[in-house]
């Protein structure tokens, strides 16, 4: 069988791609040959543990062939059919965005139009009038990812940059640094070598709002599954706390607690009450390392200003967990070596994306501090990071400024954005619609706690408003909140011109005036390392979520499909039209840029460019006597900090707080925000602004939790991969529409007359979403679970804020920020109601049909979507089979 094998990385992990005659045949994990050195061996409790000699990508990685040939690929440049290029930018039928069809355009026509509009707008309003924003992780690679090709282009052109909010770890970013520093890791701790520590020492794992088999180390595939299997086999007790008895929990938990959503901080306080009253904490450690512990302890035992003792009974009333169980939990934690944390790096998890998320994050850190954080077997470590690695091998990750083509030394010349105006991502619609927005904080505040309090105003003094939006990659319909406000924004004439540059025709592309088709990772060159998001940044050494370090030459497996082009090609060609083409490319091809990353990293010392590109990947060995730098051990044991990516003051035994200690009363908050009622100097449980104490709860009594998805990543996979529509825990395929599963407790389902498999409508004042009911004991009666970030945004009336049938539950979640001075999102503070849905629903409302319309409306020689797919051989049977299948489902 004559197959060409190339390699790549996607957000699901590294893959080997087999192609036959220019068509992708299969996508496999990378299985190592004998040239790859022996993997690490961890010796623990009389056993030896070593990983399998292959990469273990997530199942989403194995959909890459399907996604490349997907029915919803954007196949050629398109222009909205009722878009009029008026000279003043007015009267452009913007109200029809989202519902209008498109006509096919040539690349020249589309790029010329984009360049003309850029010049017109810049002349009229200045460079700040253009804004642009990326999604995250729709592609992988140091050249093509958002901080590289995109950033270089827009910084050279000048634009109003949009600050990302730390959407996956809000509460930790905005909370935890005030307790223990680590602002440079956005509130997350350091997990170096804690896998070894865990295997050797831990007795209890507290998996708080953590579903490791679902969130998969972020971008680490299924690498850590075996580690938890090993821990389980060693008899380590797994206690899961999550309003949803999640997929890791239901299979592996020794105990599951489902607190009422948003009350986790109350559970923390009740645990602390038990420890304080029963003396079950490390008093020496606290005496040495805690700041103003006694004041906080006073508050816990009922001597605070509220005069309420945070007893287990009090905890029971808020959380719904029996007081006896809370006591038992506190004692187990307080008397055994316990590691754990929230979410995949100990500082993530749906719980931190609630109205009380900062306070939970701070309290959780305080609990681990009380148990001597950093001592063997006692740490924040949630079993999905911290594998051994060779820290002396450096290859950049995407957030490393040294590893971006926007900057030297990869580029000869660093691109600098001359515009000083910003927007803030969660509130872009508010800013556009209201013409004014103000907020605190720089989004990602890795540079210092003070950055949380920087005042921002839009429009910036002396700046004009934004009138052009260039969206690149991925869709916010399904990842950002209050989806319908984005719909309203796109229909506003304030946005005179909207460009969308993406691979697939996902929910947001349909709101653009011009659509530019980008190709997938498999159709262009790039270079990158598995799960390496940066070795000096906010997720430093995230590749320790993998069992191997895998640097991959992301070879071009096939030529770009249809008329798509690489993002780099698109930017270079617009730059050319705007007069900075040569500066943008510096005369380099994409392959030559890739070589720069090899040249400027330690890779050059290990393997020649020729050998590397021929083999396709390089795996730095991790010698048996590799340096160990156990996370946080330096602090507990009082030696100068030796962990990678540390700050100077850590070498003096200090944390990154004002006092260098665990601050149980935060001096940084007393300094910057003493009157903030959302995030108080003493971290306290506060009922959510949208929770069971809200007036709204009378009307909308259910909590919706919409955590990071198991069957998707940033909405990229469900839309393009019909295979996964038939996974029963994900979706149900009815009448040509794949409906998302929503989980309802049996007693509430019975009250509402809802049966397994019924169509149900989740609704509140923001909108409604039709899902399919799964009746299950895996949620408590007060909670309904439906995954976020896995919607196929699909409103019944396109372009309107109508009922969604694609499972975009973000329609329901609040667009407001956690607090005035806490600019985080809180999707898991959503109230809503549910009812059986018996109304009419459109059949077969798939993008495929819409794209066919575009094709048929276009030039006469344009083939339909189905024909083009069939022309590529791969999905030959798909259309026919699906048509039959739909008939069957209807019958």
């Amino acid at each position: 069988m004559a197959e060409k094998v190339t390699h790549s990385i996607c957000v699901g992990g590294p893959i080997a791609i087999h192609t036959e005659n220019g068509t992708i045949r299969r996508v496999r994990p990378i299985v190592f040959d004998d040239s790859v050195a022996k993997g690490w061996v961890i010796k623990a409790r009389g056993k030896e543990f070593t990983p399998d000699r292959k990469t273990s990508p997530a199942f989403i990685a194995f959909t890459e062939k399907n996604r490349a040939y997907s029915y919803d690929r954007i196949r050629y440049p398109m222009i909205r059919e009722d878009f009029v290029e008026t000279p003043d930018g007015k009267n452009r039928n913007t109200e029809n965005r989202g519902k209008s069809g498109y006509r096919r355009a040539s690349w020249d026509e589309a790029l010329d139009l984009v360049a003309r509009e850029v010049k017109r707008l810049q002349a009229a309003y200045g460079k700040e009038t253009i804004t642009a924003c990326t999604g995250s992780h729709h592609s992988w690679g140091l050249l093509g990812y958002k901080l590289s090709a995109f950033a270089r282009f827009f910084r050279m052109m000048g634009y109003t940059a949009i600050m990302d909010n730390p959407d996956s770890w809000e509460g930790f970013t905005w909370g935890a640094p005030h307790t223990y520093g680590y602002y440079w890791r956005l509130g997350g701790t350091e997990a170096f070598d804690l896998l070894e520590d865990g295997l050797q020492n831990v007795e209890t794992m507290v998996m708080w709002s953590h579903d490791p088999d679902t969130t998969r180390g972020g971008y680490a595939g299924n690498e850590s599954c075996l580690w938890r299997q090993w821990l389980d086999k060693l008899g380590v007790q797994f206690i899961y706390i999550d309003p949803f008895n999640n997929f890791s929990s239901i299979k592996q938990a020794d105990k599951w607690f489902g607190p009422r959503p948003g009350t986790d901080a109350a559970l923390c306080e009740a645990i602390a009450y038990v420890w304080i009253t029963e003396g079950l904490y490390d008093k020496d450690y606290i005496a040495k390392h805690a700041h103003r512990f006694d004041e906080w302890a006073d508050y816990i035992i009922g001597n605070g200003t509220d005069r309420i003792a945070k007893t287990p009974k009090w905890g029971e009333i808020e959380t719904g967990i029996p007081a006896a169980d809370i006591k038992a939990f506190a004692r187990r934690w307080g008397t055994t070596k316990t590691m754990g944390g929230s979410g995949l790096r100990g500082g993530f998890g749906g719980v931190c994306r609630t109205a009380n998320g900062t306070e939970f994050a701070r309290l959780m850190v305080q609990l681990f501090a009380m148990q001597g954080m950093g001592k063997p077997g006692s740490n924040i470590w949630s079993g999905s990071t911290g594998a051994p690695m060779d820290y002396n091998f450096w290859f950049g990750g995407y957030s490393d400024p040294l590893s971006q083509i926007a900057n030297a030394p990869i580029a000869d010349k660093t691109a600098v954005n001359p515009v000083k105006q910003f927007l803030y991502r969660p509130n872009v619609p508010d800013a556009i619609l209201d013409g004014h927005y103000e907020w605190y904080g720089n989004g990602f505040c890795g540079g210092g706690i003070d950055l949380e309090f920087v005042e921002h105003i839009y429009p910036e003094v002396g700046c004009n408003k934004v009138h052009m939006f260039w969206r690149y990659g991925g869709t916010f319909m399904g990842t950002m909140l209050d989806t319908n406000k984005w719909v309203r924004m796109y229909k506003s004439p304030e946005l005179e011109f909207v460009v969308n540059q993406d691979i697939h025709f996902h929910g947001e592309a349909r709101f653009a005036d011009v659509i530019l088709p980008a190709c997938t990772n498999l159709e262009r060159y790039d270079i990158g390392e598995y799960c390496n998001s940066g070795n000096g940044g906010y997720q430093s050494h995230s590749q320790t979520g993998c069992s191997w370090q895998v640097v991959v030459f992301q070879d071009k497996a096939i030529e770009p499909l249809w008329e798509s082009q690489s993002d780099y090609w698109i930017f270079a060609n617009v730059a050319e039209r705007l007069g900075f083409g040569a500066e943008y490319t510096e005369g380099r091809t994409e392959l030559e840029w890739c070589k720069r990353f090899w040249e400027k990293s330690d890779l050059r010392d290990r393997v020649s460019w020729e050998d590397f590109t021929k083999k396709g990947y390089y795996i730095p060995p991790c010698p048996e006597d590799h340096e160990r730098h156990y996370g946080f051990r330096w602090f507990a044991e009082g030696y100068p900090c030796d962990t990678p990516n540390h700050k100077n003051f850590q070498e003096e035994g200090k944390l990154g707080t004002f006092t260098g200690k665990f601050e149980f009363v935060s001096e940084s908050l007393l300094y910057w925000a003493p009157d903030d009622e959302v995030r108080t100097p003493i971290a306290t449980y506060k009922p959510s602004w949208e929770g069971h104490h809200s007036i709204k709860a009378r009307k909308y009594p259910f909590h919706l939790i919409s955590p990071h998805p198991r069957f998707d990543y940033h909405t990229q996979h469900n839309s393009s991969t019909p295979w996964i529509w038939e996974i029963p825990e994900n979706r149900k395929y009815i009448n040509g529409n794949p409906y998302l599963i929503a989980r309802v407790h049996p007693t509430k389902a019975a009250e509402k007359g809802i049966k397994e498999g019924d169509m149900i409508e989740l609704f509140n004042e923001r909108g409604s979403v039709v899902c399919v009911a799964h009746i299950t004991y895996r949620v408590e009666p007060n909670t309904i679970h439906a995954y976020g970030s896995s919607g196929i945004y699909n409103p019944t009336i396109p372009g309107e804020t109508s009922t969604d049938i694609g499972g975009c539950v973000n329609v329901l979640s609040p667009g407001r920020l956690i607090g005035d001075k806490v600019p985080g999102m809180a999707p898991n503070s959503t109230l809503m109601d549910v009812r059986k849905y018996e109304g009419e629903l459109p059949d077969s409302q798939l993008f495929e049909d819409k794209l066919d319309k575009v094709a048929f409306d276009g030039e006469s020689d344009t083939a339909s979507c189905k024909e083009i797919i069939e022309g590529h051989g791969f999905e030959k049977l798909q259309s026919l089979v699906r048509a039959k299948y739909q008939e069957g489902a209807r019958g």
Binding site: A58, Q229, A324, R331, E729, L877, Q878
Partner: protein, 289 residues
């Protein structure tokens, strides 16, 4: 040489890697041993997730990767005509994509539902154990023994839940793997020899929690829990753990079970349950003697 796959249902985390690579290998691509799998509606390896329990207090899941068992004496072969189903020398059961045309009896004969009907081509289809790849001398990936390649599903499994190998070799990894677990045939295949061997499929659990008297708001740790089946005369003994929880897994199905909970200084509590399905029996509150 008899190729087999051992499936440890206890280790399967339902990650859907096997499911997806199977689609990747067979959807839209015909081979020597099979016509193309349709894009939708067929699952040559499927993950059957069954939630267990009747209370949020204790819910577990049974996770069964379900594929053709490649039976020693296949019912589908017996139901077929004209040699449409045959066994290779290595034990892999193949449905000939041409000879089987129109033979829907092959689908109906399978006791586990692992054979699918292709409406368009009017043929039965199922797992080939990736026979074509196993036969290909150039298909290079391996783990361990370079002479022994693996089906796609086994290669992609991150949990060591699927193990491939030679069942005739007593020293093979697959035989060691099977010996370390408990063989639990799929429903409908009891007593039959199969080349796909399922391990550790659970039967029924009973569970509960024991608390000290209500007013104390304390769990009872170390209470003795004794389960008895009068019918089989079997006895299971356990103790409540640090959460006051007790649980007995692997009980025989459809038996009445007597439960006796004893704790020094408190009245004995007697409960009963039937193992028709998994039950969280009770939150039991002790009363002082």
């Amino acid at each position: 040489m008899r190729y087999g796959i051992a499936v440890d249902t206890a280790k399967c985390m339902a990650c859907y890697c096997c499911f997806t690579v199977c689609k990747d290998e067979h959807c839209g691509f015909a081979g020597k041993y099979s016509a193309a799998q349709p894009m939708m509606g067929q699952f040559w390896i499927n993950i059957v997730e069954r939630e267990r329990g009747d209370s949020s207090r204790r819910t577990k899941v049974e996770t069964i990767p379900l594929l053709c068992s490649h039976c020693e004496d296949p019912a589908c072969l017996k139901a077929s005509r004209d040699g449409a189903v045959y066994k290779r020398e290595d034990g892999i059961v193949i449905i000939d994509p041409e000879k089987s045309k129109g033979q829907s009896a092959i689908v109906e004969a399978c006791p586990t539902g692992a054979v699918f009907w292709n409406e368009e081509l009017e043929i039965p289809q199922k797992c080939t154990m990736c026979a074509e790849l196993l036969d290909d001398p150039e298909y290079l990936a391996y783990l361990g023994d370079p002479k022994l390649k693996r089906p796609r599903c086994v290669e992609a499994c991150p949990n060591r839940a699927l193990i491939f190998g030679d069942l005739d070799d007593p020293d093979s990894d697959i035989n060691k793997f099977i010996a370390a677990g408990k063989v639990t045939p799929l429903s409908g295949l009891e007593g039959q020899k199969t080349n796909v061997v399922h391990l550790n499929i659970p039967t029924v659990f009973l569970a509960g929690t024991v608390y000290r008297p209500v007013a104390e708001e304390e769990v009872a740790i170390g209470a003795k829990v004794k389960l008895t089946s009068a019918e089989t005369e079997e006895v299971w003994e356990t103790e409540t753990n640090y959460f006051g929880d007790w649980e007995v897994e692997g009980l025989p199905k459809n038996k009445p079970i007597d439960i006796e909970i004893t704790f020094d200084g408190f009245e004995t509590v007697n409960l009963s349950a039937v193992t028709d399905t998994d039950h969280y029996v009770a939150q039991t509150y002790l009363e002082a003697k």
